[in-house]
Amino acid sequence: MRGFDTLIGQGALVRRLQQAISSGRVAHAYLISGAPGSGKKTLAFTFAGALFCQNLDDNACGTCRNCRRIGANNHPDVTIVRPETGRIRISQIRQLKDKFALQSYEGSWKIGIIIDAETMTEAAANSLLKLLEEPSGKAVIMLLCTSRSMLLPTIVSRCQTIPMRRLAKSEIADFLANEHQLPPETAIVIAGLADGRLGQAIEIASQENLAWKDEVLAVMTRREGQGLAALRLAAKLDAEPEAIEFCLRVLSSWLRDMLLVTSGCSQTEVVHQDRYPDLLALSGALNESVVMRAIRQVESTRRALEANANRRLALDTLLYQMADLTSFSPASEVYKYGKSSRS
């Protein structure tokens, strides 16, 4: 644990929390929301560290005994609740309440960190309500979740909400270039794919992923023999299913770029900036509705794959269609949509 400085681009949030600590206005309940990989846990643990730190007043030094114990999940006054077999159950919340009913072990704060709070069962969530409203003594409960809309409104209204900010592309790109020694032109593409989440960016910035990206785009930009290339790629992906998610993301970001370019957006606004000329050339032959339909096609394939569709078949169909968008036929799609609306 190295203090709030590890959180890139969350300056406003951090200042808010630091101000709360220094002005003695620490609330008893915080709801930290943000997409996976956006730094929720880092923020929660650093905040806990800052409350306990022996060296610094409003930050965690990471070296004192308290900071180290928190970093090692070993502090008696910091309780962590996380889902067991997928859910957080009422018994876990009861344990937390029992702990909060007592004085703290070391006479200072009592802190509860509930990770993946949206997995609380209904009973668990309800049994948290009274504790969340009026805990006794110096207590802080932090709930971490993907989106606040997934929690009971009665829970949300008892907390101060801290939405993790999505970072600008340039912030992530700078970080990747400085800390991970990526060349700037690659860094900006990865940053675009990471959807404003630093953790995501670091996760996907691997050589294999870069290779996959190039492969997908090679198929998309091919002028002839696309069909065969697409099927080859599908076969390869079928053998390495863990790359599918990333490749679909590349694919939809590519289509999104195409949509933006047809609308006249500039190079800095697209994800695949290094291939702007290709985008310009390809998008000339297409109109928006075809591109949007293609995007929907990618999404429905994604969902089909989640629902255990025949992987090879789904990939074959999708990539084959996407490889040559000019002949991507909307007619059959129209029928499909028409049908699904009736049924």
């Binding site: 409203e133 949300v156 949509l259 957006c265 928006e288 799609e333």
Partner: protein, 618 residues
């Protein structure tokens, strides 16, 4: 004691402090005044509307040393202890944690003991909807006739989960959401008491965002205070909430309304850069459009911030039509829903912008049908115009429709009587040709487009669970439309079963239903045997169709007919439909009739036994 959240600090301690909820407050105060306090209350309402607060106030009113009073003093030891939560006689139970039957049994044990310090024992069961069924039932008898001087207050956000037997034993009070004005009023009281500096616009933004919950509102204010020292303005709150300030929102919506796609996308990307939450932005846009919609309908003006009219500054936004507002709301709502699973999280919004700034980009037929989309209408209009022109042409030629149905007798050809109708109509002369030529080009085009979609017909039939129909259809070869626009299907003689099966009303109607949307009009299907059609009438189309669909059918030998002749094929109708065909057979057994036919030509329409003559048409 650590810092106390403002919403806990400013829980109303007197009935006068309660904002809104007048019906509840007045009823409770009157009950206290007249000594008619019931033994059980059920408070229900959304979060942050004052259920727990009023329950505690009621306890205070009952136990204040001034006796049951509508105005508890807040200074006596009883009042103090209730405020601090130490009172022996006020038992607050968390129904969600103590939800089992055992806890309720404990409660029943303790209810019997008399109050120790105040006049009444008050049991406040919060989140009562989470009690188990057993626990509820165990409570019933106690709740109906509790010992003297015991009052139950049950509080819940979900009254529908409370059994009726419980609800009927309580006096029930519904708490309502606060209006924004009420929230702002209370916030201002808090601001004054805390000696803070907060602008009115900021308070209003808080109020709007709290959506009727007092706790939400005060918690937000609290957050703002810990966020910002000194004067708090609207921008600070917006930053705190991660919402786009009203100004930028207007600019974005204005450029969408003005169909400036590039400008709108650029604005959107600026917002991405500043770290706005996409879902929140989508919801804010919807919220703004909703206000605009309500203002358009004309009930009252929502669109004022600090008294300034936004609409004047954004002309495109101001002139947005109601229809378009609804469309945009639809688009944005869909985008917000899509965000949960779409991978570049901004993509749904970008698509909504692109679609919102284009004329005819409605994506699927569903929305096209629903909204009367431009392309859809255009297509229909064109079709109608075409049909009108065709009818006009027909009328100009002056051909009575009925004549065309009947055979035209050509005296120059003596052998006409032995042949069937098409022989007659084929030789129908200049008049017929004109008509057929004019109609034929449209029919032909229609038929071509149908052939190109023939594969889909099968697919749709399968999807519609009409697999048998599809199977019968496989043996059929579409021949074209007759002059009435009926679709002619030819079957090989060997496939009689298929033909007969497809002719059954159930199957035929299923096929017609599927064909109608493809052809774009209601359509009738006529089944024929191949060899009933003169060889030269069988269409070359068959080959082209086979190339497209790959359906194997017996290859007709003859070909080379011109498109005009296709349309003459209507002559087929009648005679070859099985029902009328029977009549012809009937007539064939009758020598008198045969003789008559030989002389006059024509078809047998009706056979009357009494006269022994067929009345025929000419």
């Amino acid at each position: 004691m650590s810092y106390l959240s403002l919403y806990r600090k400013y829980r109303p301690q007197r009935f006068e402090d309660v904002v809104g909820q007048e019906p509840v407050v007045r009823t409770l105060q009157n009950a206290l005044q007249r000594g008619r306090v019931a033994h059980a209350y059920l408070f229900s309402g959304p979060r942050g509307t004052g259920k727990t607060s009023l329950a505690r106030l009621l306890a205070k009113g009952l136990n204040c040393s001034q006796g049951p009073t509508p105005n508890p003093c807040n200074v006596c030891s009883n009042c103090q202890r209730i405020s601090d939560g130490f009172a022996m006689d006020v038992v607050e139970i968390d129904g969600a944690s103590n939800r089992g039957i055992d806890e309720i049994r404990d409660l029943r044990e303790n209810v019997r003991f008399a109050p120790t310090e105040g006049g009444h024992k008050v049991y406040i069961i919060d989140e009562v909807h989470m009690l188990t069924t057993d626990a509820f039932n165990a409570l019933l008898k106690t709740l109906e006739e509790p010992p003297e001087r015991v009052v139950f207050v049950l509080a819940t956000t979900e009254p529908h989960k409370v059994p009726e037997t419980i609800a009927s034993r309580c006096q029930r009070f519904e708490f309502r959401n606060f209006t924004t004005e009420q929230l702002v009023m209370r916030l201002r009281q808090v601001v004054e008491a805390e000696e803070l500096d907060v602008t009115r616009a900021a308070l209003e933004l808080i109020g709007r965002h709290a959506a009727g919950g007092m706790r939400d509102a005060i918690a937000l204010l609290d957050q703002a205070i810990s966020f910002q020292t000194g004067r708090i303005e609207e921008g600070h709150i917006a930053e705190l909430l991660g919402v786009v300030p009203g100004e930028q929102l207007c600019e974005l919506l204005n450029s969408i309304a003005g169909e400036e796609r590039l400008a709108a996308l650029t604005l959107l990307h600026q917002m991405i850069g500043s770290g706005v939450d996409p879902a929140q932005l989508g919801k804010d846009c919807i919220g703004f459009l909703r206000e605009l919609m309500v203002a358009k309908v004309g009930s009252r003006t929502y669109l004022t911030t600090d008294g300034e009219d936004l609409v004047g500054r954004w002309p495109a936004l101001a002139s947005l039509e109601l229809e378009r507002i609804l469309t945009l709301i639809d688009l944005l709502a869909r985008a917000v829903a899509d965000m949960r699973w779409m991978s570049p999280v901004w993509l749904p919004l970008e698509m909504a912008v692109v679609r919102g700034t284009g004329d005819n980009l409605m994506e699927d037929t569903k929305s096209a049908n629903m909204r009367g989309d431009a392309t859809w209408l255009q297509e229909l209009t064109q079709r109608v115009a075409y049909l009108e022109a065709a009818i006009k042409e027909l009328k100009a030629i002056g051909t009575p429709w009925d004549n065309r149905l009947s055979p035209v007798i050509d005296e120059t050809r003596p052998d006409h009587g032995s042949s069937h109708e098409w022989a007659a109509s084929e030789s129908g002369g200049g008049l017929e040709d004109q008509v057929s030529t004019s109609a034929s080009s449209s029919r032909e085009a229609e038929f071509d487009s149908l052939l190109s979609q023939w594969g889909e017909v099968s697919e749709i039939l399968r999807q519609e669970r009409q697999a048998p129909v599809e199977a019968f259809l496989r043996e059929a070869i579409p021949q074209g439309f007759d002059s009435d626009g009926r679709l002619l299907l030819a079957f090989p003689r060997a496939k009689e079963f298929h033909k007969v099966s497809l002719e059954q009303p159930k199957n035929r109607e299923a096929l017609e239903r599927v064909l109608a949307p493809i052809v774009g009009r209601a359509i009738e299907v006529v089944c024929l045997f191949e060899d009933d059609i003169p060889q030269r009438k069988i269409l070359t189309k068959v080959e082209s169709m086979e190339a497209k669909t790959g359906a194997a059918g017996p290859e007709p030998e003859a070909s080379g007919s011109t498109p005009e002749e296709e349309v003459l094929a209507p002559g087929l109708k009648g005679a070859d439909r099985s029902t009328e065909g029977e009549q012809v057979d009937l007539g064939a057994g009758n020598p008198a009739l045969e003789a008559a036919l030989k002389i006059f030509g024509g078809t047998v329409v009706e056979l009357k036994d009494d006269t022994g003559e067929g009345s025929k048409q000419q």
